[in-house]
Symmetry: C2
Subunit: 580 residues, 2 copies
């Protein structure tokens, strides 16, 4: 941040600012939003715990302290944090090779993973390292989410049939078919149909019935509750769990106890890369959600503050035996639509979930797993970003390839492989682009002070003066290309006695570029061709000022192309050379 004082982040409002300025007329909005969001996130949290390979109550435990932690530090007024699909999948995928899914050891690792990424995020926040997220380009993020969502969809298909994993062959599926499979399908398919209908049409149908648009949207978002309640009621009335329908099983009543356990150094080493990956994805996801929410209310957020808040939320989750949490898109959507004004809404959600845990939670033991699966399916399917792929592909084929490769990479190579591939590709694309610089021979637009590309505009050139505008930073990946282009241009204009390099679009010259310019100038000196510069930017000039190239080999530096043309055209030896 030293070079440019403007790059300081706008002063964040600091922690609990919302509480210090709390106004009483915000309270009703926060109360309603807290309650509504809680109702929505109860089935979602349990479903994502199942996705992560954990007991469903862990999802509820991870919905208590994280909301308080976020309220302490967060800069978004409407975000709701908790278990989300992508981090749940990452937990399962990253810890799967380390311990058996569902074992006590696995649960402990999941808790430590949340703890470790919480600490990591918090420390990054203290160090103000929010800029790290910049290295994930939009195509990489979009490809990653799409690939992960496809993996999640795929993982939930067996639950639709009442299975916990794919059958070895379709034949075996039929041979082993039981009443439980039929029951799961009989609950799952109508549930799925209802949820798809709710997402696509319910809101507009409710509006046609006379409901206000905001209320209609909100009710449509709460559609999963109906599936949960119906699923519960049917199972309890029909004793369906006795007949083979897979259900949640047991769910202890009461709040989780606060536990602190420190992983050993070996475990920390093993969990560090997974924690770093989860932290990165959580942060990028949360910040982009927080930013889109803030834009809706014309507020702003502070990425470094968000790092602290996410860190506190994850540490909070670990303290009550929960797993990794993150800002959620749909839960935050419900929160803002239900009228949340401040993070108090989240605190109220946490209180509601605590009450549920203390009272009716054991009822959920009879919840069919297929209900949770359809909740996941419908929540995750829209994350597959086909529109984004199409838009990116149209704008830049190469970035489209990066997006697709990241998605396929996540599916084929796994979470880490996909991210590494995507980041690698976006960096290589960027370098490759820089390695093919646009260099234009420019001339004067007749009668003006403007100079434009001779190939795009009708311009005047001077016979002995070759003016080249280099449209790229000069750095290792493109020095050879720039050198060859200049030499080719000199061959195309054999009468050249003065070469003018216009550096208006050159923001940096690295040492490889400087070496090339110096060798090139040496060759031109032997051919008695003068080398001149125009429109050198301040920071570039600062760095060049001490070099042997500028002091020994460059014949003149001009503030503008116009002055350079006037000085160099025709009267080369007449006009004194100008240095500044």
């Amino acid at each position: 941040m030293r070079d440019n004082p403007r790059l300081q982040p706008p002063g964040g409002e600091g922690w609990l600012a919302w509480l210090r300025h709390y106004r009483l007329d915000w309270l009703s909005g926060d109360l309603v939003a807290g309650l509504v969001t809680a109702i929505m996130i109860i089935p979602q949290s349990m479903a994502y715990a199942m996705l992560a390979g954990l007991p469903v109550q862990i999802g509820l435990y991870a919905s208590l302290l994280p909301l308080l932690g976020y309220a302490l530090f967060g800069s978004s007024m409407s975000m709701s944090v908790g278990p989300v699909a992508v981090t749940a999948l990452m937990t399962a995928a990253l810890l799967g090779p380390m311990a058996a899914l569902g074992s006590a050891e696995y649960l402990q690792l999941a808790i430590w993973l949340a703890l470790l990424s919480g600490v990591l995020l918090f420390v990054l926040g203290l160090l103000r390292m929010g800029f790290l997220a910049n290295f994930l380009s939009h195509p990489v993020i979009s490809g990653f989410i799409s690939g992960a969502s496809l993996l999640i969809l795929f993982s939930q298909l067996p639950h639709l049939l009442g299975l916990s994993s794919f059958p070895a062959t379709p034949g075996q599926l039929l041979a082993d078919w039981t009443l439980g499979n039929s029951l799961a399908l009989a609950i799952g398919l109508p549930g799925l149909a209802w949820l798809i209908y709710a997402r696509i049409r319910l809101s507009s149908h409710l509006q046609q019935l006379g409901l206000a648009p905001a209320l209609a949207t909100l009710l449509a978002r709460l559609a999963p509750i109906l599936v949960v309640v119906l699923g519960l009621v049917l199972t309890l009335l029909g004793n369906l769990d006795q007949r083979g329908l897979p259900v949640v099983g047991s769910l202890p009543a009461g709040l989780p106890s606060l536990v602190w356990s420190t992983p050993g150094l070996g475990t920390i080493g093993m969990l560090l890369l997974p924690a770093a990956l989860i932290s990165l994805v959580s942060f990028v996801e949360s910040v982009s959600i927080a930013q889109s929410l803030a834009r809706r209310k014309r507020q702003s957020i502070d990425p470094d503050q968000e790092l602290l808040a996410l860190g506190a939320a994850n540490v909070g989750s670990a303290l009550t035996g929960g797993f990794a949490v993150c800002g959620g898109f749909s839960r935050s959507g419900v929160n803002i639509e239900a009228g949340a004004n401040t993070p108090l809404a989240g605190v109220i959600s946490a209180a509601v979930i605590a009450l549920i845990l203390l009272s009716i939670a054991p009822l959920f033991a009879a919840l069919p797993l297929v209900v949770l699966a359809v909740v996941i399916l419908v929540a995750v399917a829209p994350l597959i970003d086909i529109a984004g792929l199409r838009r990116t592909w149209r704008y830049d084929r190469r970035e489209g390839v990066t997006l697709l490769a990241t998605a396929v990479g996540v599916i084929v190579l796994g979470i880490e492989g996909g991210i590494v591939l995507g980041v690698g590709l976006s960096i290589v694309t960027q370098l490759w682009r820089g390695s093919r610089p646009h260099v234009a021979v420019v001339g004067r637009v007749p009668g003006t002070h403007y100079f434009r590309n001779t190939q795009r505009h009708l311009v005047e050139i001077e016979p002995h003066l070759l003016a080249l505008r280099i449209d790229e930073n000069i750095f290792f990946a493109n020095t050879r290309a720039i050198e060859r282009t200049i030499l080719q241009a000199l061959r195309d204009y054999p009468d050249t006695r003065d070469l003018l390099l216009i550096l208006s679009a050159v923001n940096h010259i690295d040492s490889t570029g400087l070496d090339m310019l110096s060798e090139l100038s040496e060759g031109l000196q032997e051919k008695t061709i003068g080398v001149h510069l125009a429109e050198v930017k301040g920071p570039v000039m600062d760095q060049l000022s001490d070099t042997d190239w500028l002091t020994g080999q460059v014949d003149g530096v001009f503030p503008s192309t116009h002055i350079a043309f006037n000085t160099l055209s025709g009267a080369r030896s007449a006009a004194p050379e100008q240095k500044q």
Copy 2:
């Protein structure tokens, strides 16, 4: 190369062009150079074979066909290819873990390594992939060569004491001391002193004695011959090898037989990465040597042609049981100074070496190993590029760190680790630089058409018009920083009604950047601030022209900042907005 027809390489002269245009008055130069270079490379080739952990005759075998192969395809008129120090070290370092140094299996792997990198280089040449070398920046190359040279120096120290490897402790060295150790030291130290003197002073002393400078330099370069001859004579006269002085041992007479053997798929897989690394380093080294030679004679070289030539040279080396070859700096220096006009000089060198192999080669069996070690020491020490480190460090601290880290990486992590670390660092440095863009608030230089940074110049600004010049491509690594800077500038100039983004230094906007600009413009539209662009480059405009951002959210595009200022200043609603 599609975007810019200028980036085509200047038409290479194709293969054997030098022979088709051969002029008889070039012959004497080529004859003398061929002979002199052969005399110089005989001890060097044997020394580098020893460095590679191979029998010394392999060095001579690798000096026959490679010179013919290069003559067939090469575009440099004075380069001499053969065994060089860095690729010899790489052979030893990369194959060491695969087979015992000096075993028959090791020799076979070294031959296959040359074959594989020859094929790789040739194929890359056919695909015209010479640009791949651009991804090695000068600091990485310099750091790599320096680190490798330090490793080489270190590896030769035991030979000075007549040992083949370092003693476990200094105490053990003394306990095991033999007459052989003393003899090695007695030959090595004076030899070293003579070679150092020859490199530093001999040429100027010879010139003081009246020799022509060119001849004096050439004679000084041949100083190692004296050490070789004296070492041989002393050993033979004193029967020193019988008294424990380590010597070459046996050296078969005659030419190598042509052998073709194809490695299995498993071996190819194992050797692919080593071959790729050796190819990369050989190519970068050879091209930079060829370019500096070409510059001395005002010739030009064609990198893709060089790939073919190096490929043929390495395949040629493998055919006669030789190891990896590359253009050599000192051997090419002798070649050009002795008057080489065409690659015929190399062909003559090869013939001379063939004659030596057919006649006196068995004599070299009595050559003390310490003589080869001092030849290596003095050839390699100047490759440690302290001046380059100092110059790079002064120009850019971060590139200096990359250079040092590459050198240390080669020593600590090994050849591959060092290269990967260096390339990684130079890419990250480049991205990091792009992630901290310079953004300037600009105003008009009074009474002119020029616009400059308000912080560096005394300029006039318009109260309702905020003009920002973005001095960097807008891409994923800097979109957040640019967004924050623009928002901060809007806070600093709260009266802004029109934002003018001057894109004269923006050569590319990626999809992440486009998303940011689009979201930013959406926010500004709500605040009724107009968004305008000026000086958009042709290629950028081409890519943006179809986007929703340009068509829906940008209020005006101006060809110059001057026109934008005139149109937007004060009379915002009066002047019609200009789009083009």
